[in-house]
């Protein structure tokens, strides 16, 4: 049997390839990026010509994957948790249409917000859409679950949500591979109206969806991952979800026969498993990575049943990622910390790379905008968000992909002058273009700076859809060519760039300044190759 040392992300990608994947769709986002990257560098994927090109955003990725499923082939789409917000329309409605070829939607959550703006728990989306959701606890389980997820998807004709968290995504372990399955052949849906969600059709389909969701609770492919292991202890039982299981076993040992444990790794789960546990124990501890989803449903509103410990009563911290020491504490075990961190140790936040074009652009912007005082710059998601930190302290917002342009429009509507948006090239083609169209249509007095490093930088330099197309896109949307300026953010151009930015901020209409210089990281990498 072949064994590979794989990140959780890579185990998922490898499994999908081995399970007959025909199309992988994604937009880069930590901690999900390595799923697509594995497939892009896989020889098997190249030989089979599995689709493996980045999409413009998570919504286009989701819909393209649904299209491949329509055509009868197995498809997977991967994104970070907040990407699922972008893809939510397609995702929720794919539960209504159902699928033809198996469809897996991987959402990689980031509890503790290592590289994200929130720590939303994607499991809620599974329930919201009424689709099965798998939550592996380790790399091997992730690998095996993908096979079951595809089969579940095809059996119930539903997309499957595959929820992982940062720690699994970016942790490496040995994975034993299974025999590969061939890809599916092109085949259209039997019902030509399956994907037509006209209200009259949708109403019927919704009833089917609701009944499928009920029967999923007892499906073998889900329930084999939800198991109850009885123990001698009649005081405390534990419900443990996903990766929290590893931290529990770290503390009590694999061989533990004392504590009754209910492990949940697939949703919806049968409620009688919960009753098996609660009929034996006086108290329940719930350990789950992310939000207290299971805990809240156990407690209900009245919370007058069996005593429950978890995130809601402070036994486990209400927010943030779990770790073995937090779980030890929740179990009442002693935690022996090493020495404290000496006070002289300073924070070392991430910063612009030496020679980064964003930094030169910001230096010019800061000087150009100084006469107007603080509070005029809306920014976005990417490396350039680092300009929020000293010594730059140059931006006033970072909310969601594309929000820089649209927030600048709203602030300009309110009378803020100048109103400036700073957005990266990849973020612009992800979700900035529609906002720019709004601005053009009503001629908003906004200055949009597209800081173009010709890559998706923060996630490690993936191909940007914008490269070589920015000017065409902007003029196509209707930006006045007289106010579409292209500058090169270099120190030697500082004075000139500052004057361009200052002049465009004075213009009472839509200006776009494309500050274009290749990312120093990708440029260095390219020169080495």
């Amino acid at each position: 049997m072949k064994k590979l040392l794989l990140l959780g992300d890579e185990a998922i990608a490898r499994a999908a390839l081995d399970a007959g994947l025909s199309g992988m769709y994604a937009y880069p986002g930590t901690p999900s990026t390595e799923i697509m990257e594995y497939i892009q560098t896989s020889e098997d994927a190249a030989i089979r010509n599995v689709h493996r090109i980045w999409s413009a955003n998570e919504k286009t990725a989701m819909e393209a994957a649904l299209g491949m499923s329509y055509a009868g082939k197995r498809a997977m789409v991967a994104m970070k948790h907040v990407g699922l917000n972008v893809a939510a329309d397609g995702f929720i409605n794919s539960a209504m249409t159902g699928v033809n070829g198996g469809l897996i939607v991987v959402s990689a959550d980031d509890p503790s917000m290592h590289s994200s703006q929130n720590e939303q728990d994607s499991r809620f989306y599974g329930k919201f859409a009424s689709v099965p959701c798998f939550e592996p606890s380790n790399q091997q389980e992730a690998y095996e679950m993908i096979f079951d997820a595809f089969e579940t998807s095809e059996k119930y004709k539903l997309p499957v949500l595959f929820r992982i968290t940062t720690r699994l995504a970016h942790s490496r372990a040995s994975v034993t591979l299974k025999d590969a399955i061939p890809e599916k052949k092109l085949s259209l849906p039997v019902d030509p109206l399956q994907f037509v969600l006209l209200p009259a059709i949708a109403r019927k389909k919704y009833k089917t969806l609701l009944s499928s969701y009920e029967s999923l609770k007892y499906d073998i492919r889900l329930s084999k991952y939800n198991f109850f292991k009885d123990g001698k202890n009649r005081e405390l039982g534990i419900i443990v979800c996903g990766i929290a299981y590893n931290y529990l076993i770290e503390n009590i040992g694999e061989a533990n026969k004392d504590i009754p444990i209910l492990k949940i790794a697939a949703y919806p789960f049968p409620h009688d498993l919960i009753r098996d546990l609660t009929s034996r124990c006086k108290e329940i501890l719930v350990l789950e990575e992310g939000a207290p989803l299971v805990e809240e449903s156990l407690r209900g509103i009245l919370d007058d049943g069996i005593k429950v410990f978890g995130r809601l009563d402070g036994t486990v911290p209400r927010d943030g990622e779990l770790n073995p020491s937090i779980v030890a504490h929740a179990l009442g075990f002693p935690v022996e910390y090493g020495k404290e961190v000496p006070q002289l140790v300073k924070m070392r936040p991430p910063s612009f790379c030496k020679g980064c074009g964003h930094a030169d652009m910001f230096n010019s912007l800061i000087e150009a905008i100084r006469p107007y005082g603080p509070g005029h710059v809306f920014s976005d998601i990417g490396c350039y968000t680092l300009a929020a930190l000293p010594p730059y302290s140059a931006i006033n917002s970072c909310v969601d992909m594309g929000a820089s342009i649209t927030m600048a429009i709203g602030a300009a509507d309110a009378g803020l002058n100048p109103s400036v948006a700073v957005i990266g090239d990849s973020t612009f083609t992800h979700s900035g273009m529609t906002g720019l169209l709004d601005a053009v249509v009503k001629n908003s007095p906004v200055t949009v700076i597209i800081s173009d490093n010709s890559t998706t930088g923060m996630t490690g330099g993936q191909k940007s859809q914008a490269t070589g197309r920015l000017e065409l896109i902007c003029t196509g949307i209707g930006v006045d060519p007289a106010h579409l300026r292209v500058i090169t953010p270099l120190r030697k151009n500082h004075e000139e760039n500052m004057r361009v930015i200052a002049a465009e901020m004075e213009y009472k209409g839509v200006s776009v300044i494309i500050a274009s210089r290749e990312c120093i990281q990708t440029a260095t990498k390219r020169k080495k190759e």
């Binding site: 064994k3 040392l5 990140l7 930590t30 901690p31 990026t33 390595e34 290592h114 590289s115 720690r167 699994l168 970016h170 942790s171 490496r172 372990a173 040995s174 990766i243 590893n246 931290y247 076993i249 770290e250 694999e254 770790n323 073995p324 020491s325 030890a328 935690v335 022996e336 910390y337 090493g338 020495k339 404290e340 961190v341 000496p342 002289l344 140790v345 300073k346 924070m347 070392r348 936040p349 991430p350 910063s351 612009f352 790379c353 490396c383 680092l386 010594p391 923060m458 996630t459 490690g460």
Partner: protein, 201 residues
Amino acid sequence: MHKLKSENMKSDIIISGVGGQGILSIAATIGLAAVANNLYLKQAEVHGMSQRGGDVQSHLRLSDQPVASDLIPFGKADLILSVEPMESLRYLPWLSKSGWLVTNSNPFVNIPDYPDINDILEEIKKIRNNIIIDADSIAKDSGSSRSGNIVILGAASPFIDMSLKSLEDAIRKLFGRKGEEIVDANLKAFKAGLEFSKQII
């Protein structure tokens, strides 16, 4: 030289440094050696935002028994292996009382309030089992100024539950595609680090 092996064959290692300093290639070397030794392994890495010059660490766990948690519990690390001196101190809450701290002495200064290096070295010397090594100079002497991380791996190798040969084989495998010259320089760097530690322990 005596090998400081624990009873049940377990090494819990925190590798630390600054984004871009190559801690993942240290982790990859140990990982390759672990696989060759049929050990169980889990290795949690940092990808994403912090890689832009922020503090980064990797939790690396090796054992002859299955490893449950991807993260090392507080107070349980056998070794902190650091490419940067201030960063070695950031992970002290994880270091066990009998654990070793092996660090580069050369600071990576990319923040305005970086402390006095002498104060940092004083703090490191307060740890009972410490090795401070000028990996940059030793790497240069070995013919590859970029292999400072492998010098530190060599210096830390007595505290990792694996044979020297398996670590050297892993270096050959990892750097093999870069050519014989790079492989030799890294093996030389590894041995120089090891010799340095031998004189201390």
